[in-house]
């Protein structure tokens, strides 16, 4: 570590190298810390968590009771012991609260003035954060599994939530006009998960119960770009395109890596696969058995900014940490009392927040460095003198 600091100071090393090394070290030693808590507001399980990208300060959580809560993650209290307090909630008393469980919440990507929530009551709602009033309301005829707002670079104006429902068609909605502007057809089963690529703003990945994962370019009028095939079969055969399966069961989780070059998918065949997004090739990294019993979408997270990327996947009542490119299981984070439903990685502080059916959000913090030897000896001397008095 001192070597890295010296290298950065003298200009021998790129400053990014020290940042990456320290981020990886911190991401490897995540654990539960008695000094950090998240206030417990939800009465039922927590389905989804989202941390805003601008400052990384506010966290949204959506629960199975239809309640949406906003937490403040920053510690201004000058004490190591800190509870992340809820800033405001859209509770059961609010007029426009969701009737059934909230499935996805996401902050508006440009600022925290707005957020979107989708729920099992077949609606997607856009809220204003300051007044907690409903701004826009998208009714949908079918059960909404997942909605994902497009994460856009700051110089673009378009912001398109994409909605995956029980209907095989994927809808793209427009926030300015309040209606559905594009429908992507191609799947033959319910669409369980939808994600936009962080690298190219027009690439969308969708996962469905018909065991296929499709990549779409929304600028094209025709169908999907390609479907992912787990056997890496011959791409020239058009007849076998229809039979391409990404998993041997339902595909219920999707996550792009931070740079958008790779896509992780999980399925109910208890497997997780890593794909190259440019070609759709299966990299054949073997993660072993990734227990997956979720009937709806599984929300997992991939670390960002480390030299070795890690995937944090909820497996039953613990969170499994896998090294993305080598397939190794690093550790299992145990702490929840019931099933874990979602987890989210905070890239600036290398912290992991996970929410589960036990209505707790747990914060996994990197282990603080042990104190210096001189400090320890001083405190020991003080203790001894007190005893002998």
């Amino acid at each position: 570590m001192l070597g890295f600091l010296f290298g950065r100071q003298t200009g021998l090393d790129d400053p990014l190298r020290l940042k990456r090394a320290e981020s990886t070290r911190r991401a490897l030693c995540l654990e539960l810390n008695p000094d950090r808590n998240v206030e417990r507001i939800h009465g039922n399980g927590i389905n989804t968590i989202d941390i805003e990208v601008i400052e990384g300060r506010y966290m949204l959580s959506g629960g199975a009771d239809g309640v949406v809560v906003i937490y403040d993650l920053e510690n201004h209290s000058r004490k190591p012991h800190y509870t992340c307090k809820a800033v405001c909630t859209v509770g059961r008393s609010s007029r426009h609260v969701h009737k059934f469980s909230v499935e996805t919440v996401q902050w508006y990507p440009h600022d925290t003035g707005m957020f979107i929530s989708s729920s099992f009551d077949k609606t997607m709602k856009v809220w204003d954060t300051e007044t907690l009033k409903l701004l826009l309301y998208f009714p949908c005829l079918f059960l909404l599994w997942n909605c994902n707002v497009y994460l856009v670079p700051l110089n673009h104006l378009h912001c398109l939530p994409s909605v995956g429902t029980k209907n095989p068609k994927v809808q793209l909605c427009d926030l300015k006009s309040g209606s559905c502007i594009q429908v992507l057809q191609g799947h033959r089963g319910e669409v369980l998960s939808v994600k936009w690529s962080p690298r190219y703003e027009y690439i969308l990945a969708t996962a469905s119960t018909d065991s296929s994962v499709r990549l779409w370019d929304v600028r094209r009028a025709s169908g999907s770009l390609f479907t992912l095939d787990q056997f890496n079969g011959d791409p020239s055969k058009s007849s076998s395109e229809a039979a391409n399966t990404a998993h041997n069961g339902r595909v219920n989780g999707l996550c792009f890596t931070g740079d958008g070059l790779f896509l992780l998918t999980t399925g109910t065949d208890d497997r997780m696969r890593l794909w190259e997004t440019a070609t759709g090739k299966n990299t054949l990294v073997n993660y072993g058995k990734v227990v997956n019993e979720s009937r709806k979408g599984l929300k997992f997270a991939v670390s960002q900014g480390c030299s070795l990327e890690f995937a944090f996947v909820p497996c039953g009542s613990s969170v499994a940490v896998y090294a993305v490119h080598s397939g190794e299981l690093v550790t299992m984070l145990k702490g929840h009392y019931s099933n874990v439903d979602c987890c989210e990685f905070h890239p600036d502080y290398q912290e992991l927040y996970s929410g589960g059916k036990d209505s707790n959000i747990l914060a996994w913090i990197p282990t603080p460095r042990p104190p210096d030897i001189e400090e320890e000896q001083d405190s020991k001397k003080v203790c001894l003198s007190v005893i002998f008095l």
Partner: protein
């Protein structure tokens, strides 16, 4: 909110793994002391060390040695000259720790033509591995003097030599390899092809039905032994020493590699050895 039931052995194991990853990041060279972990079988120990050195040729040869070791666990008297010795791909995962590397080396061996891989019917995940020379010899020996010898020889020389998939399509057989319909029927009759869909076939091992039957029976019996014990767990050394019923026709080590590799049991390191706990999902 502390979870109290963490076993110290599991913590030691994860700390070692994390230390190895941290060493990689900070030093660039893997430290020898924390990197190696005790493996369940002695035969695979050499494989990991060779893999660590980054010796790819060494890695592939070690996979071959592991395959031979697993195949030697099949009993000699049950095996007449009709069926080649079969190992399952996931049995290798119990001998070598890094699954991705095992997959990669196995694919290399397959591309070189040393091994052949087949999809066995009973499980969508089980893939059988046989040595190509063994397979060809046994198939040709079974076909001597029969009418189907010609098409089978043609099949072995053309399809197996070039095609790396586990299934073939009708269009591929008719156009690329120039087989006639009657020849395809003969191939299905002698067991080299098995019907998958209308117009597509799995490549299969002829006369492998008996192997599959004994294998599934043995797997169920061994899993049953573990499930019936107290807390559904047993030390691996205890299981190896147990007397097997007549339902288990293969060596019990073969089945142990199978259930450990397929993750039907959890392997837990204890101070008394490796503990196998039934994983109910």
């Amino acid at each position: 909110m502390w979870f109290r039931n963490r076993s110290y052995a599991a913590e030691w194991r994860t700390m070692n793994r994390k230390r190895a990853l941290k060493c990689d990041t900070f030093c660039g060279k893997r430290g020898r002391s924390g990197a190696a972990e005790p493996l369940p079988a002695a035969a695979g120990g050499g494989g990991v060390a060779a893999g660590d050195r980054g010796d790819r040729v060494g890695g592939a040869l070690d996979i071959k040695a592991s395959l031979e070791h697993i195949m030697s666990l099949l009993p000699g008297k049950l095996w007449s000259d009709t069926v080649p010795r079969i190992a399952l791909k996931h049995q290798l995962y119990s001998l070598h720790r890094d699954r991705t590397r095992v997959d990669r080396h196995l694919n290399e061996l397959r591309e070189q033509g040393d091994v052949l891989m087949f999809q066995l019917g009973f499980d969508s995940e089980s893939v059988a591995v046989v040595f190509a020379a063994d397979f060809k010899a046994k198939v040709l020996a079974a076909e001597v003097g029969r009418a189907t010898q010609g098409p089978v020889e043609k099949f072995l020389n053309t399809v197996l030599a070039s095609c790396c998939d586990m299934s073939v399509d009708e269009t591929k057989m008719l156009q690329e390899f120039l087989f006639a319909d009657s020849e395809i029927t003969q191939l299905v009759k002698c067991g080299v092809l098995t019907v998958k869909d209308a117009g597509s076939w799995w490549l299969s091992i002829p006369n492998s039905g008996r192997f599959t039957k004994y294998f599934i029976q043995g797997r169920k019996a061994v899993l049953g032994m573990i499930r019936k014990s107290k807390y559904s767990e047993m030390l691996k050394s205890d299981l190896e020493g147990r007397q097997t019923t007549s339902r288990v026709k293969f060596h019990i080590q073969y089945h142990i590699h199978d259930i450990v590799g397929a993750e039907l049991v959890d392997c837990i390191e204890t101070t008394a050895g490796v503990l196998l706990r039934f994983a109910d999902s």
